[in-house]
């Protein structure tokens, strides 16, 4: 090799431009996806969960989606603006869009979906649209949302990619919405058209030849394979029978192993919008836990970095409070923390008057871990082991999903509980509700601890209707400071879902909620 060639070779390696960036997308191919938990319905206008978006998000579309930088980008809505008082938000809709059955998409669909589905049935949509009074439709391409109280435009736009899916009015206007067969055979405007759902086996969707984005999608077909068992899914990934496994659906050890395999990419890229924190919830009805010294002692007893490194394979980071670091708009740094300090933990418990008794045990507590996610049960075991070091004996109580929800949030029959808090792009959507008082008994993932704080209630309410962005940010910083000081619950670990891709797939993970997004530009290389 001569000098010139050597320089070129070295140069290209240093620049590191991936050859992929210059490839032309190939048309055709079947994308097979790991579908781990079957859902009762597939319509994202009626159910807001990642389990629905993985399928429904390709068939139906929302008013907006997120772009690569995480900002709202037009989908079915082309533009938007808010009135000065924040009580009217106007969306200009896209022209020339048709439903999969050929009927045109109009503002009537938006009005119907918002009033009948988002406001009445959609979980988290009901809270978000609580003050929505009407949606005016002066013409087929304009929808005006009228609110009783000011709705911050930023909040709405950030929530709409998840909570803004549109369903066809002409399909749902007759009969009971919940029993409509379209719920398991969705009709939408998206790049893929529903074909078949074989319960327990697979879902198939084919390319929408009349998609409003020209010459898209690239893929011919998407097949979701129902695989409940993690080990089986990993085996199928390696055999090439599935090309994509979303939402941390494989075992942690499989992530580590597949990451070393050059055929696969194991990453949190594309899931930044789906952050969650692991929770440790305290029941104040147990007088031991009502003492803040005890709560702080328990927090100090956990070596979180050790746990993350050794048990979560470093696919997580230490949490700092209810608002995770992915939230660039609201994440407040410098809040009160509780680092690993066994001496401090022991001292706090001694101060609280809990001396060590027989066998070095001060007192016993029951811990109820949620029955989903491998990390939750690993964390529960780790907590049991760690708390034993400071003289707290833990009994782990196992319940299934229905039993767990009922026992914790309705019966309040627990001492400690541990689960996930899902951060949905804005603190007002599903975060502050963990701290605000007033949620009815039985409402899951809300403040059911037997604790309330009027100050924090006030901060939360003010922030939800504050239109000025910097002021809103400051209010949420206050909220986090108070939450971390009072510590009614603790959120020590922050995680982003892990995706596993077969590298043949291209244009993947190009927005922060890619797995839930529409995949209109995804293509399959040979």
């Amino acid at each position: 090799m001569n000098r010139r060639e050597t320089l070129l070779l070295v140069g290209s390696t240093l620049v590191g431009v991936p050859a992929m960036a210059q490839e032309t997308p190939r048309r055709g191919g079947v994308m097979t996806v790991h579908f781990s938990t079957e859902q009762r319905i597939l319509n994202p206008s009626l159910q807001a969960s990642t389990g629905v978006y993985i399928v429904g998000g390709k068939i139906q579309e929302a008013l907006v989606d997120l772009d690569a930088a995480g900002n709202p980008t037009p989908v079915l809505a082309e533009s938007w603006e808010s009135s000065a008082d924040g009580k009217s938000i106007t969306f200009k809709l896209r022209a020339g869009v048709t439903w999969h059955d050929g009927k045109p998409f109009t503002s009537a669909d938006v009005a119907f979906t918002a009033m009948e589905m988002w406001k009445k049935i959609l979980n988290y949509g009901t809270a978000l649209q609580l003050f929505l009074t009407a949606v005016d439709t002066p013409d087929p391409l304009t929808a005006i949302f009228r609110y009783e109280r000011p709705m911050p435009l930023g909040l709405l736009l950030r929530a709409l990619p998840d909570l803004g899916y549109i369903s066809p009015k002409h399909i749902y206007e007759t009969g009971n919405i919940r029993q409509n067969p379209a719920n398991t055979a969705p009709i939408g405007t998206g790049p893929f058209k529903f074909v078949q759902y074989e319960r327990g086996q697979f879902i198939i969707a084919d390319r929408n030849t009349n998609y409003w984005r020209p010459n898209l999608p690239y893929l011919d077909r998407v097949v979701w394979r129902v695989i409940g068992d993690r080990a089986a899914a990993a085996a199928q990934m390696e055999a090439g029978q599935i090309l994509f496994s979303p939402y941390s659906a494989l075992a942690i050890s499989d992530f580590q192993r597949l990451a070393r395999d050059p055929r696969f990419e194991v990453t949190t890229r594309g899931n930044e919008g789906n952050a969650r924190t692991n929770t440790l919830e305290f029941n104040f009805r147990n007088p031991i836990l009502a003492d803040i010294r005890v709560r702080k002692a328990l927090a100090h007893a956990l070596n979180i970095p050790f746990f993350i490194e050794n048990f979560l394979g470093s696919f997580a980071k230490p949490g700092t409070g209810p608002i995770p670091s992915v939230s660039t708009d609201y994440y407040p740094a410098g809040m009160p923390q509780y680092p690993f300090d066994v001496a401090a933990a022991n001292r706090l418990l001694d101060e609280a008057g809990h001396r060590r008794g027989a066998g070095g045990v001060r007192f016993s507590l029951r811990l109820h871990p949620a029955p989903w996610g491998e990390d939750i049960s690993l964390f529960a075991t780790f907590m049991q082991q760690s708390f034993a070091q400071i003289g707290v004996r833990i009994e782990i109580v196992r319940l299934d999903a229905a039993g767990w929800l009922r026992t914790i949030y309705n019966d309040h029959n627990f001492d400690l509980a541990s689960g996930w808090h899902q951060y949905r792009s804005d603190p007002a959507v599903s975060t502050t509700v963990w701290y605000r008082s007033g949620s009815p008994v039985g409402a899951p993932w809300t403040n059911q601890w037997g604790w309330n704080d009027p100050t924090i209630d006030q901060i939360i309410d003010n922030a939800a209707t504050e239109l000025d962005v910097p002021r809103r940010r400051a209010l949420y910083a206050d909220f986090v400071r108070r939450a971390q000081t009072e510590l009614p619950l603790w959120m020590p670990i922050e995680q982003i879902f892990v995706s596993v891709f077969n590298k043949r797939l291209r244009n993947v993970a190009n927005n922060p909620r890619w797995a839930s997004s529409s995949w209109h530009d995804t293509w399959l290389a040979n």
Partner: protein, 323 residues
């Protein structure tokens, strides 16, 4: 015609048992913490109290237990199994969709266990106390002692992961879109490991019973007479001994039908098969009462039917029973 009237009589006699089972399970599940709406909220990742109350009304859960039970039984009398909360479809449809997988698995396992158990039991009995007998009996014991799910997992590790001979699970390869004979073969290929796993313990049982039964019959007078008459050993076995030795085996099928369905829950879980076993497990976890009771009803009917067929077969095999 007689068979139908016999069947009808058997069904009528089993009605009290059926009723007992259904009412029993219904009442038992009322004590489970959480209902189907809680399971649904868990799946949704949240929801407020208004949604929950609305859903409870929708599923008829706001009625009293007695009222719910009465409604259920009244529907059952008209052979209406109700609506599945999980699937939003009639329970009958859901069960029919899952039936092929379970029936294929159980049928294949039973046939495999019966045929192999019979063959191995005969060989062991013929070579009693010599090395084939010792080997077969020992293998039988080991199969009996092996936890089925553990065997399934180890089989996956060996045959799917390391050797890559057989698929790791599923009921056929969906993305391929096979049809007709190709699809049947594909499904059969996917059922090899599950059949082996489920059939293993029953193979061990049939093996032992067949061997013991054969030995007992071989020592009876009529066999010695046949030998004295100079008949060939194989002819003696097939014509005379087998018929009598099969009787306990056939009885056993009836007894094992229920256990096999229970074993199917675990095997279907390990191999991701869309069968009734997994459906039953799902309906317990999701508190879908209608589906669970529907499965219990169908499986009870299956057990009763199998026992009935067994009795018919028994009568044909044993001429001493008035047939």
């Amino acid at each position: 015609m007689r068979i139908i009237s016999l069947a009808a009589k058997r069904l009528a006699a089993s009605l009290p048992t059926l009723l007992l089972i259904l009412v029993g399970i219904f009442c038992l599940l009322q004590f489970a913490p959480g209902d189907t709406v809680d399971a649904m909220l868990a799946q949704m990742g949240g929801g407020d109290a208004a949604i929950a109350a609305d859903l409870r009304r929708f599923y008829g859960l706001d009625l009293s237990v007695a009222e719910q039970l009465t409604r259920y039984l009244w529907r059952l009398v008209r052979l209406d199994l109700g609506f599945s909360a999980i699937y939003g479809k009639p329970v009958a449809t859901v069960i029919l969709e899952r039936l092929p997988a379970t029936l294929s698995l159980m049928g294949a396992s039973l046939s495999f266990a019966f045929a192999a158990g019979m063959a191995l039991g005969v060989i062991a009995a013929r070579r009693v106390n010599r090395w084939p007998d010792t080997l077969i009996s020992t293998l039988g014991l080991i199969f009996y002692a092996t936890p089925s799910f553990w065997f399934g997992l180890m089989a996956i590790v060996l045959f799917s992961v390391h050797l890559q001979w057989l698929p790791a699970g599923g009921f056929g390869d969906v993305a391929m879109g096979y049809t007709g004979a190709r699809r049947v073969l594909d499904i059969a290929w996917h059922l090899v490991l599950p059949t082996l796993t489920l059939g293993l313990i029953f193979l061990a049982i049939y093996l032992r019973i067949m061997r013991a039964s054969m030995l007992e019959v071989l020592s009876l007078d009529f066999v010695r007479t046949a030998r004295a008459k100079g008949l060939r050993e194989t002819r003696i076995i097939t014509r005379h001994v087998l018929r009598n030795a099969l009787l306990p085996m056939v009885t056993l099928i009836g007894l094992q039908a229920g256990t096999m369905l229970g074993g199917a829950v675990v095997v279907e879980s390990v191999f991701s098969l869309p069968g009734l076993g997994r459906l039953a497990y799902e309906s317990v976890v999701q508190r879908d009462l209608n589906t669970l009771l529907g499965i219990v009803f169908v499986s009870a009917l299956l057990v009763i039917a199998v026992n009935f067929l067994v009795d018919m077969l028994y009568a044909r095999l044993d001429p001493r029973i008035g047939a």
